[in-house]
Symmetry: C2
Subunit: 489 residues, 2 copies
Amino acid sequence: MADDKKLPTRAADFSAWYNEVVLRSELADYSPVRGCMVIRPRGYGIWERMQRQLDTMFKDTGHENAYFPLFIPESFLKKEAQHVEGFAPELAVVTHGGGKKLEEPLVVRPTSETIIYAMYAKWVQSYRDLPILINQWANVVRWEMRTRLFLRTTEFLWQEGHTAHATPEEAEEETRKMLGVYRDFMESYMAMPVVTGMKSDAEKFAGAVRTYAVEAMMQDNKGLQAGTSHNLGQNFSKAFDFTFQTEAGGTEYAWNTSWGVSTRMIGGLVMTHGDDKGIQVPPLLAPIEVVIVPIYKADDERARMLEAAEKVRAELHAWERRAPGKLRVHVDKREGIKPGAKYYEWELRGIPIRMELGPRDIEKNQAVLVRRDTGVKTTVSLETIGEDVADLLHAIQDSMLTAARDRRESNSYRGEITYERFREIIEGPGGFVYAGWCGGAACEAAIKEETKATIRVLPDEEFRSAEPMKNCLKCGANAVFEALWAKAY
Amino acid sequence: MADDKKLPTRAADFSAWYNEVVLRSELADYSPVRGCMVIRPRGYGIWERMQRQLDTMFKDTGHENAYFPLFIPESFLKKEAQHVEGFAPELAVVTHGGGKKLEEPLVVRPTSETIIYAMYAKWVQSYRDLPILINQWANVVRWEMRTRLFLRTTEFLWQEGHTAHATPEEAEEETRKMLGVYRDFMESYMAMPVVTGMKSDAEKFAGAVRTYAVEAMMQDNKGLQAGTSHNLGQNFSKAFDFTFQTEAGGTEYAWNTSWGVSTRMIGGLVMTHGDDKGIQVPPLLAPIEVVIVPIYKADDERARMLEAAEKVRAELHAWERRAPGKLRVHVDKREGIKPGAKYYEWELRGIPIRMELGPRDIEKNQAVLVRRDTGVKTTVSLETIGEDVADLLHAIQDSMLTAARDRRESNSYRGEITYERFREIIEGPGGFVYAGWCGGAACEAAIKEETKATIRVLPDEEFRSAEPMKNCLKCGANAVFEALWAKAY
């Protein structure tokens, strides 16, 4: 049920707006368990569509799904030194099972590299058994001090791809390929533009040789790391003695990659597209694309209008859309709620198109379509309703991406910049600042300490500035990299 | 990789056969974590198809998916007395998080009634908010002493439906409806016939008013409980103060149901259809329905035959099958492995149809199809290959169900029976024995103690014997129920 109180506005308090809009649109709710959330059907419906599409993309790139245990022996985690150092502070530990104290405590997986590469070591004998291209859809647990719905929760849902290769080149290719899949998914389906690039050593995954990430800009101009892809080199192979016989007859450690995205993406969706009326779900991920609100004054019109609405719904459902399957249409048949109150609710929930259908519309064989993104109304003939609705959904999907990209670009800063100006931006309106970096950990740490901004990525070529950066933002020495700086979630 | 040693036969050692066939067909593997298994891609592919179909059936009956936390405060479990008594011995307990001892230990969910009805209590105010029809796909943990791959593991994957209703009649209808969905799925998709019925009080779910179950017979004549559906009455509502305002204006506790099936079904599939050559996967659940093995003698034929095989695969893929989607076809292109060795492997893995394609077949524009279930070979024209393959898959699906049903019926015993004869059957060949029961817990317990047989279900009318049972199998008093007795997994 929609709450009667007004939503906080984004301008007044972005953080309060975010929490309220997630709760009121019924995407999720707090749970009695500290730091854990409940994903409600309206939120889970979006997650299911994300999963379905990503899963198709993973399979199209040759991956299969499998499932590995939730529990990991504590000793496994300790085998890769950096890995355990990174994750130890965040672990949930099972010490008792079946009424008895366990001999060795079990860790609830924070990620599954250790258990998975231990299994691969058992399955792979020779180069003929490689590559292994496996993905897992699972829940993971990281004990977080400060949690936010979808963005940072103790338990979250994600997918983790884990692959093994016979050469370092193949592993690097896989790492980059999956980063590309994430980017494609986020732009084409979430209508959320991202910057791709490599993480600095300070920000990379605990146990990786190189981490790549996709970074999106939220409406408060902060960055959101929306997905990562890691080239693990032979770090885990060596820790788990994962070797294979090479074609030449020798023995070699395998090269691994891992990559993941999570329910955090739903938070990204909300903070990319939401407005002061509620959330906005891009058509391709919307469990309901069109809501039909029948309008009637007298009670004796009700039956006739519901019948008319149902007929339109059936026509839309029968309409042969090539992709992505049948039009998803809902008729709001609730009694005792005025059309205006229904409009308010469906706007809050971000349904891309509202169709208003009254007695005069039926007489004229027409309907009124209202876009959630722009509020623009158009009257269309019921003769061509399937095609018109599909076209409009397509247009909404496109313009949501364009709007988000325009917003990001108008809050991005490029070109040589003084550290003072940098601080003005970061501590003022925020945004993405592309600036030179000497590559030194000291400058990176000092900037983080002083401004809370971090290197989000060292952007891939297509995102770099036209002119190469000359000097490090902080120390003024020669710039080795162009870095994308921002405050982030 | 297929192991060179022969599989144990079912007749010699059914249990050893089961373990070996699961491991060698690469459905699953043991993991380094006690009692937990790894579901490998060939096993997970079957689970995905099960999930997809069940999910469609749940949605067609009005249910939505959601996700509730993995962790449950220990105090929640204690609120329903029978529930905690039933599950306490099987709990895994998290005592430490983020490096600190927790104030209240968290239980890893063994099932989610408690956390879910606590949330529903928060969401529901009035009868207008009912029914709630939610399902969750999740992992659960029950600390088991003796584990078996798929059949009984510490962690397993399942779905748990949890619904809330305004009347007890609606709750009962839902409980029965979902039992029907399970039966339909198991018979139509798994080709595994089941007996439906109610559990005795001794065997019902901890916290339920009534438990219904679907029971299947495995090839060793033991029963497998393949799914359950519980009418929870107001037990959990009362424990979690889950009330709603009635239409008449009063306040009432909601009526709840829960129902679940798990990865245990994969074990059921193996033990229903497997033979001494390997597993058999019914076409509707098979990730690969047809494997094409190109046959060639000389190396210079190889390229031509692979091309021909690929052409047939593409034709099959393009063939417009109405349901269930595209034909799923794999070409075995591996080098250095003889056709016979390939046949052996695909039989082990239970692919429903093998297509043998040699140079002479291509000349004659034909292919040889070999059924996994009967071994029967037929030669078909490549002109009509799509239709022929689809028809054959349909026939295989049907005859797998018929074969399983015939086997069950020839190992079922009906009619008045002495306790001596009953023991002969149970302790000898095993099977389903339909016999009278006085309804007394003492007789039930004595029979279990003496023979290890339990009441699997009090069968629904269609499964009951033509003649009503007169006397209790054990005490000879008047029979109140007809009960289905068997040893079970």
